[in-house]
């Protein structure tokens, strides 16, 4: 998404006394998907008459301040009129406090708006967020705009600001927004979640169910097959001289093919047999344990049908001894199995 390239120029600062101005050193913004999702969700929940909504961004800053990771976001109510803007600062403070309680490691990093437009109000709010005291000072505040106009692409941009203006009064409600590069990054853990979410992207009702292991395996295999198909189609068309050949592509494919392991058939056979045995044995044992446990609980609680009229104590002793034996058996077998596994 970040196709823009950036050139950062140092520029003279505005009429703010040195030392109070936030640094305008270039920085990298990393956005995690849940932050974007929060912004989009907030955009959907805006009041009918609102053009855009704003909120606070939270995240972490790298030690030298050159990278900001936006981890989460929360909405802040605000209203814009012709000539004035009102942001619910009290709300922002309370929510921030609540949020920090649960995520002590995250700090305030900036704010977002759901329109690409930058105007005077943006500058005002930006100055609040980057100010001293409650703001991000001495670090620059990140301003993220996510355009959510219907019928157009979502456009995300990140900015930091520099003070601008001739006098101190003018500087309070103006700011020079400097675009900064950003990237969307997600961890290993998010991958499976995003994949499941992406499954719903083509569905009419925009929903998908959580898939089981085997289903997702099936999908992954289908995906690989279609990729192999695509590549072989390309290779065929190159051989038929329909598509221009590319050395780079050929090299790349060769490299990929070279990744196929060269192993002795006997080794494979051995490894395969070892592992398949492990897998099946564990599965078998797990199910045995399950059955035994179920049996044991059933016997312990369902003895009334055995001895009619006999007190509950009588037969249960016998049953429990049997349970006990069952339990010991189970205890022994998986242990053996584990040693087997360690060997393999």
């Amino acid at each position: 998404m970040a196709e823009d390239s950036f050139l950062h120029l140092a520029r003279p600062l505005g009429p703010v006394s040195v030392g109070t101005a936030p640094t305008t050193a270039p920085l990298n913004v990393v956005i995690q998907p849940q932050a974007i999702f929060s912004v989009l969700d907030h955009s959907l929940r805006r009041n009918v008459d609102q053009e855009r909504v704003i909120g606070t961004l939270l995240g972490t800053r790298s030690e030298d301040g050159s990278e900001v990771e936006v981890r989460s976001a929360f909405a802040v109510g605000h209203s814009e009129a012709e000539d004035q803007v009102e942001v619910d600062m009290e709300y922002h403070k309370q929510m921030l406090a609540l949020h920090l309680k649960a995520n002590p490691r995250e700090v305030l990093v900036g704010w977002y708006a759901t329109a690409s437009e930058l105007n005077t109000f943006s500058a005002l709010i930006q100055n609040f967020y980057s100010g001293q005291g409650d703001g991000t000072w001495p670090h620059p505040a990140v301003h993220l705009t996510v355009s959510t106009e219907a019928g157009k692409d979502l456009e995300t941009r990140a900015y930091i600001s520099a003070p601008v203006g001739v006098t101190a009064e003018r500087a309070a409600d103006s700011a020079a927004f400097i675009p900064v590069p950003y990237e969307l990054r997600y961890g290993e853990a998010d991958k499976s979640g995003l994949e499941s979410i992406a499954n719903a992207k083509d569905a009419e009702d925009r929903s998908a169910s959580v898939t089981s292991d085997i289903e997702s395996l099936e999908r992954a295999i289908e995906e690989v097959l279609s990729m192999v198909d695509r590549v072989s189609r390309y290779v065929e068309s190159v051989i038929d001289e329909e598509t221009p050949a590319s050395t780079a592509m050929g090299q790349f494919l060769l490299n990929a093919l070279a990744l196929a392991p060269k192993v002795e058939p006997a080794d494979i056979e051995r490894d395969f047999n070892n592992h398949i045995q492990d897998v099946l044995v564990v599965s078998y044992l797990a199910n045995t344990v399950r059955t035994q446990m179920e049996l044991s609980t059933r016997l312990a609680t369902a003895q009334l049908t055995l001895g009619s009229g006999v007190g509950a104590e009588g037969p249960s002793t016998g049953d429990n001894q049997r349970n006990q034996r069952g339990g010991k058996n189970q205890g022994g077998r998986p242990r053996q199995d584990r040693t087997e596994e360690a060997r393999a």
């Binding site: 309680k101 995003l194 085997i214 179920e294 104590e313 339990g327």
Partner: protein, 365 residues
């Protein structure tokens, strides 16, 4: 409530909630993470639209040896401080038009080990104190890292609720109520749901540059540095093609062994109880016989009879240990076994596929 609403049949989770839960759970992994969920109940489908994590109260260093609360996060949902926290949070969320209706809580799990007293007590608290129509979402971090997202929704069955309320878990009660381990939880199907904006966002993510693809790269280096070589887009997650079997099986065996040990302890407890009970019963019988003899001799001597039911005061029968723990344990083992089954079904497939590929001669004849 005037009319009886339809029972909850399904849970629909917004993409935002999924991502937030994943983030919170994986951040705190391997310790447990919990949080609250808010949403709406529409015709038997519980729509979960937002979530917030519960703060973990940091245990001060000096109380390190205090074993009273080994895992504060696991108990967080029913802690008093958090009730205030979540009430406050929900009030704040209402101001920005979020659904301000607590519909349950979520917890993280590791390899499906979520069937324990903490979860039961939390969910019991939610279903009995706050709102009957609440669910517990369980996100299994380790299973999700293997490829497919594992997010499940559970409720306590009404039968179990009734039994838990009165703590009726002696074997006699269980015989009467016919409560079994599959009856503890009701699992609700989970559906993921995206808003329009998120749908369009994901579409945009997946095709970053559709026009530039026609050009062939001039060199290998260019190809490798091109946006296509970077796997930054959402597209497929091939983690579930990987063949690491042993760690998963090992972990599962460990967990199973733990369960078996719990089972043994429970059985031993019960046996102990029975031995003590038997001994007491014997004593009582001996006492009764003695009293009967005494009374018989007194009757012949025309003396007033001694009361025969005094043994109830003299002897105390031990209380029967609760069967709840072993029931939960059985449910847990059940969970593990199913998990292993599902893993085995996919991994055997993969293994045969690899064998078939690496030994092509084998498959042809």
């Amino acid at each position: 409530m005037a009319e009886i609403p339809a029972p909850l049949a399904a849970v629909q989770v917004e993409a935002l909630v999924v991502m937030k839960i994943i983030k919170h759970c994986s951040q705190t992994f391997p310790s447990t993470a919990t949080g609250g969920i808010v949403g709406m109940d529409v015709d038997g489908t519980l729509e979960i639209t937002n979530t917030f994590p519960f703060p973990v109260v940091e245990v001060p260093a000096e109380s390190h040896f205090d074993n009273a609360a080994p895992n504060p996060a696991a108990a967080a949902p029913r802690a008093k401080a958090n009730a205030a926290y979540s009430a406050e949070m929900i009030r704040m969320l209402r101001e920005v038009n979020t659904d301000a209706n607590s519909v349950g809580w979520y917890t993280s799990a590791n390899m499906g080990n979520f069937v324990n007293m903490n979860v039961i007590e939390n969910q019991f608290y939610y279903q009995s104190q706050l709102n009957e129509r609440t669910v517990a979402l369980v996100h299994d971090v380790s299973r999700s890292s293997q490829g497919s997202l594992s997010l499940r929704a559970f409720r306590l069955s009404s039968k179990f609720m009734a039994a838990f309320k009165e703590n009726k878990f002696t074997s006699e009660d269980l015989q009467k109520s016919n409560l079994r381990h599959p009856d503890i939880f009701e699992e609700l199907p989970v559906k993921l749901h995206n808003s329009h904006l998120i749908t369009s966002f994901i579409h945009q993510l997946q095709c970053p540059t559709s026009t530039a693809s026609t050009e062939l790269p001039p060199s290998l280096a260019a190809l490798e540095s091109s946006p296509f070589a970077k796997t930054s887009t959402l597209t497929p997650n091939f983690d579930n093609l990987s063949l690491s079997i042993d760690p998963f099986l090992e972990k599962n065996c460990d967990l199973l062994l733990d369960s078996i040990e719990t089972h043994n302890t429970e059985v031993n407890n019960y046996q102990y109880y029975q031995r003590v009970l038997g001994r007491e019963q014997q004593k009582i019988n001996a006492w009764k016989q003695k009293r009967a003899q005494e009374n018989a001799s007194r009757a012949t001597l025309n003396q007033p009879l001694l009361p025969e039911d005094e043994w109830q005061r003299l002897f105390k029968l031990p209380a029967e240990p609760s069967r709840l723990e072993s029931m939960l344990n059985t449910r847990q083992v059940d969970q593990y076994a199913r998990q292993v089954d599902s893993f085995v079904s996919s991994s055997t497939g993969k293994m045969f596929a690899i064998k078939g590929n690496l030994l092509p001669n084998e498959t042809s004849n």
